[in-house]
Every structure is written in C-alpha cells, then in structure tokens.
Amino acid sequence: MKSVGGIILQRLALGLLTLFVVSIVIFVAVNLLPGDFAEAILGQGATPEAVASIRRDLGLDQSPITRYFQWLGGAVTGDLGNSFAQANFASFAGTETGSGLGSVATQIAPRFANTMFLAMVTAAIAVPISLILGVLAALYRNSAFDRATNIFTLSSISSPEFFLAYILILFLAVLNPILPSLSNIFDGMSFSERLERTVLPALTLTLIVMAHMMRMTRAAIINLLASPYIEMARLKGIGPMRVIVRHALPNALAPIINVVALNLAYLITGVVVVEVVFVYPGIGQLFVDSVKIRDIPVVQACCLIFAAAYILLNLTADILSILSNPRLRHPK
C-alpha cells in the first residue's frame, strides 16, 4: 500500500492533467460557438472591413492552435487576457488597454469573490444542518421525524430554484420584512451588511443542496448499522446516539464527503438563477452576459475557474476520504 503523501501527490498530478484536458475542451467548445465578437458588437451594420479590422485587433485572425497556446501560456502565468468588451470600451473612451481596466482578471475577481462569499455562507448553513439532520434521521429511522425530514428535503430539491427564492422572499422579505429581498452588494460594504444581504440567497441555496447531503449521511450510516462492529457496540451497552456518532459516522465519512464536495462545487458553478432573482453580482451572471456578447476571454476564464473549482473540490474530497480511512493513515 502506498503512503498517504504519495497518493496525494498522485491525485494532484492527475488533477492538473484533468485541468489541462478540460482547458482544451473549453477552448474548442467556446470557439465552436456560432458567430463571433466582432459580428455581435457591430450588429446589423457589420461591414466585412470593420469585422476584419476588429478581428485583427483582437488577434482573432490567427490560427486556433496559436491562440490556444497564447491563452494557455497566459493562463498559466496568471494572465487571463483582456475582455473584448472592456477593451473595446476602453479604446472608445480613449484609455490605454494596458491600464489593466480591461483585463479579464480585474473583471472576474470581484465577482468571483462574491460567489465564493455566497457559497461559503451557504455551506456554513447547509453542511452542519444536513449532517445533523442525516444523523438524526438515521437514529430515528422510519419514524415520523425521519419521514418528515425526507419529505421536506425532497420537496425542496424538487422545486425550481426561482420558485423557492420567491417563496422565501414572500415570507421573509414581504410578509415579514426581516431580510432585504435584493442582494446587490458592492465594495465598501461592512461585513455584517454584506452578510445580511446574502442570507436570503444562501437560504434558497441551502434548501437546494441539503437533500443530497442529508440523505447520503442517513444512507451511509444506515448502511453500516448491520455491520458486526455496530452490533458489538450495541452489545457493549452503548447508547444509540453514541453508536451512530462514534461507531458508524467515522466509517461513513467517505461517501458523505464526496457528496458534500459535489454540492459545494454546484454552489460555485451553478447558481445563475438564484443570482438573477436576488440581483446578486456573482460570477454566474457575468458568465451568462459574456456568452451573450461572445466575450470569449471572459467565457473561457469563467469556464476554467468552474472546472478548477470542480477538480479542486473533488480532489479535496478524495484526499479527505483517503485520510478518513485508518488503514491508509496508519499503515501496518
């Protein structure tokens, strides 16, 4: 059996390789989008000369392979390129493109930070609640509590996100105005204010991601309850709560961790609808806007960030699952 360090290094290398492959897929897919930025921005009045000139300015006339390696080289050194739309605006306003205003990084950074903030607030609410509900559901399996929890989480995951969002707005912002219904956060806001405005979208997302985590916790624990060491614990006269928390849960961690990681990845990459409903300035909206106007550098950068988030979270989950296995932590 390999050492934990070796396994982690191996997984890291695999993660990097995956990211490289994904970067090719992203580049090819984005370049397959019909139409291009020049045509999109010029609209009805596009003359072939104007289109060609803009394409030359942006380097779109070069071969895809050259552009891919330029992009990849830049991305590796932290330069995600310049936003077509911002560059265009900058040249129109007479500022230099080198001022940094038009770079993809400056455009994405604050949005990404907002998304991460929302994801973390949601995770801080959803993960503990799901785990606790899962443990309790396993403890009182087949009871009224278990059924109620299951029905509640399943109906919340089955409802469309915008519907849940509006229901929460109705109850928590309109009928009982305790929370703001708009989450337009901006720089210079105090943390508490920011937090207050993030609570409603975070609650909506909590309702969406809770079901998976809670049900996996319950299933993973119940799955172990027939094992001989659980029977042994019961035969030692250990109380039911302790049997589950101390004897079953540590052995059920691996599947739970994986489901938690998948849901956290969803929180980073898949929350466009919730952002739109609450006017939350996250990366999802930026992504959709950029696709609309064919702002290829921003689209590519967003895709790359999403892919990296997925890979990184799954990698973390993998490593944590490995660490949760005492056979690997303590080799013979």
Partner: protein, 551 residues
Amino acid sequence: MTKSKDLLLKIRDLEIEGRSDETWMPIINGASFDLHKGEVLGLIGESGAGKSTIGLAAMGFTRDGVRISGGSVEFDGINLVTASAAQKRALLGKRIAYVAQSAAASFNPAHKIIDQHTEAPVQHGVQGRKDSESDAIELYRRLRLPNPEEIGFRYPHQVSGGQLQRAMTAMAMSCRPDLIIFDEPTTALDVTTQIEVLAAIRDIVEQFDTAAIYITHDLAVVAQMADRIKVLLKGDEVEEADTATMLSAPKEDYTKSLWAVRSFERPKKAAPAADAVPIVRVKNIDAAYGTVPVLFDVSFDIHAGRTVAVVGESGSGKSTAARCITGLLPPTKGVIEFEGVEMPLDYRKRTKDQLRQAQMIYQMADTALNPRKTIGEIIGRPVEFYGGLKGQKKRARVEELLHEIEMEPSQYIDRLPSELSGGQKQRIGIARALAAEPRFIICDEVTSALDQLVAEGILRLLAKLQDELGLSYMFITHDLATVRAIADEVVVMKDGRVVEQGPKAEMFMPPHHAYTDLLLSSVPEMDPDWLTNLLDARGVDNIGDAAVDKM
C-alpha cells in the same frame, strides 16, 4: 465445576422467530437451560441450528428481523425479554459481555483497540479512562499478547487475527462481567492460532470465575472448554449433559452421528510405481504477486488416482501453488508438467485440451456460482465449451453429471444457486469441474465452509468419484482431520516453502519436521483433557504463534 453455585442465567421455553417473506418463521422452538456462576456451557450444532440466536437472546438481544416470541430469559432475576432497552443497556457490556466470531469485523476499524476496550467501563461508570487503560494492559499481559503496553494503541487492521481475538476477549473482560457469550471465537483462526486463543480464554474465564456460554460447531473445541454441553438441531434441543458423559455416552442418534464424522477414513492405496509418470509435476517453482515473492522452490508430484493434501496455515502459499498449476498466476521460475509434458506457464497460452486437464473447486460455493444462472446453465457451459455438445446431448450430459453428484436432475436442473443448501452448491461446483472431464481436480478448501456432516458427504462423494473415474486431487486444506480422512500423500507448506512431504502414514507418524509436529499437535482432540495435557507437556510458550515464531 460444582453445580451448587448461584444460579445466574435461567432460560425457559425460549421461542424465537425470524422474518422471511413477510411471515414469521420459528427459529428456536423452546430452549431451556440454567447457567450457574463460573460455569461454562457449550452450545453445539450445525449452522442454522440457532446457536448464535440463543447466545444473543441470552443477552436479551435479537438481530434485525428476529424476535423473541415466547419464554423467558432471566439474568440474575431480571427478565431480559420484558426489560426496557435502557435496563438492558445497563447490563450489556457491564455484566454480560460478548465475544464475536470474527474479531477483525467486530472491532471498529476507525478506533484504536484500547479506546474500544475502555469504552464500556467508562460509559458504564465502572472505571475511569486511565484506570481502564492500565487494566487493559494488564489483561493483554494475562492473555499473553505480545507487547501488552503497546498493542492496544494500534488500530485493528494492524494486529493479526489471533491477537485481535484475544484483544476482544480482554475487551469482554473489561468490566469483569458475570457472563460472557463466546460466539465461535476460534472458527476463523488457523489451528496453531486457535490453540493459543483457547488456552487464553480458558485461563481467564477460570481466573475470574466468569460464567460463559461457548458456541461452536467443533466438538473437540467445546470438549476443552465446557463443563456441560447442549446439542441443538434446527432450533430444537437434542440433549444436554456434562462434558464427560456427553462425549463418552451420547444418547441421541443425532449426537452420535456428529461424534462419528471424524471416523471417515479411506483405505490405504499402494504406493505408485517408482517409474510412473505423475499426472501433475510441479518442479522448483517460484512465484510472486507483483514484486512480492510468495513461493520459493516448490516441488511436488501428483500421481494418477491419488489425493495429495497440501496443508499449511493461511498465507503459507497453498492456494498460490494451485494458481500456478492452473496458469492463472504464471510462476516466475520452474516447470509445470502434465503427464510428463511441459505446459505453458500462462493459461492464455494453453490449448483447450491442456486447460481441460486441470479443473478447480472453490471454497466458497456461494461466490463461485453465478447467482443468475440455473444449475443446468452452470454445468452446461463447460460441457459445451470443452465437449462441444449442444441441445439434447448437452442436456443429457448435464443430467448424467447431476446423477454422478447424487442430485436428482429433474428436481434441480432449473433451480438457481440461491435455492440450494451450502452442501448442494458445493456439489454443483464438483459437477462443473467434472463437466470438463479432467484427470486432475484442485479442491481449494472445499469443505471448510461446511458443517461436519455435510462436509463428510462431500468427502465421500469425492472419494467415490476418484474410484470411479480415476481422478487425481490436489486437496488444499488446513484441516488435518480432512487430511487424515482422504489424503494419500501430504505436502506441508509454510511461508511459501514445502517444509515436508511424503505418504500420509509417514506424515502422521513421528519424527516430523518441527512445524508439522506443531500443526499436528494443535488439532484439538475429543479428549476433554487434551488441552490441559498439551499445555502441561509443552508449556504456554510453546504453542501457537509463539512457537511458530521460534522456528
């Protein structure tokens, strides 16, 4: 051994039911017995007799899908059948403890051994954590575990099976209970390890004057451990008597048949001619799993119509040698010959006819038969593959094979493996091997998962087939009683090497190689004083792993 001591456990007319297909089926039809302080009761019977169910019921516990439907279990005046869960929890672990069959499965893999040991005393408020820890170390020492100070701080997977079983006995002792249920505590162990665990258990039960229920299917084991023996058959009590009476004068026919199993022995065959070409010759083979070498210079011959028993403990390379012969694991060095012809080492390079020569029967018939295929399909496949038979002819051949294994074709041919008993499944495994019409069959622990009576049936069938078809067997086993019953030659393996080989008669006659001697002397005998005498003769340091380590 006195019967006048206080009554501890009183079970009366205990009836237990199990749920199957939405109805409750009886498992135990009224069991009654008493257990006094410091007394050891042996519960014996085949699998499915309800031994474990009674053992757990004596703790007021039933597994999921099982319920106590009648009778009473009184422990020290408390009726455990009617007691509340909290009442029972207060007793379990503290006054009644349990030692399970597989310590490897019954220790929680996520916690250190000593943390699991101290859990019951701490939770029941018997001892503080520190006191319980030092007590654990003291118990480990008494149970003769190596490195008693340190072993508890390891995780279960870092400790060998026999050591874990002793650690579990120590854990059961942690609150100094009045009663311990031992549920087949040595069944999963090698003979040399078993003897060590038996000695440790017996010693500690005597030291603390603990009462025990000792559940096993092995008569010779229970003879060493119990003051009284109770025999069960399919949920019914057969008889109960003190150990000496039970062994010398069993009353019921069923008990007598259990006792008689070990008397099966094949007549001795004449030695093969000196110039005879063996069916299988294994010459100087080495083998490795990846880079880990497992076999070193292994050689033996198997002659026509004879049985070669390969014995040794788990991990000694018996099954690996079989895999080398079949070509599943090509040896890194050496030669495999079938009837004097050298075979390609890799099975992929062998012709169909060469493949046909060596067939296998596996230990776990459960997992070796495809659960989705009917018996007819399972046996029909090799018939078609090797014999090229189809349609009516194939069916006729399958029926013929079923007759050979003494199963009625019309009744079984369309059944699925799940509709058969363990012994029947093993017979299907034999028929499947026969379907290839081989001259040589490898039997890998074919009887070790079976009850003694059923195992004897399988052995008799194999013997009959050998006589009729002139088959040669390589019989892999760790059970020396089986070896005595059917082997012609014996090969003893240890750590991937052959330590001794020869005709059976010589092998069971001294002088032996020291390891063979240890193996032979570790097989429990029916004599209740066997363990005591052995310990007297050898001393506690010269049995089991301790003795193996000295070699």
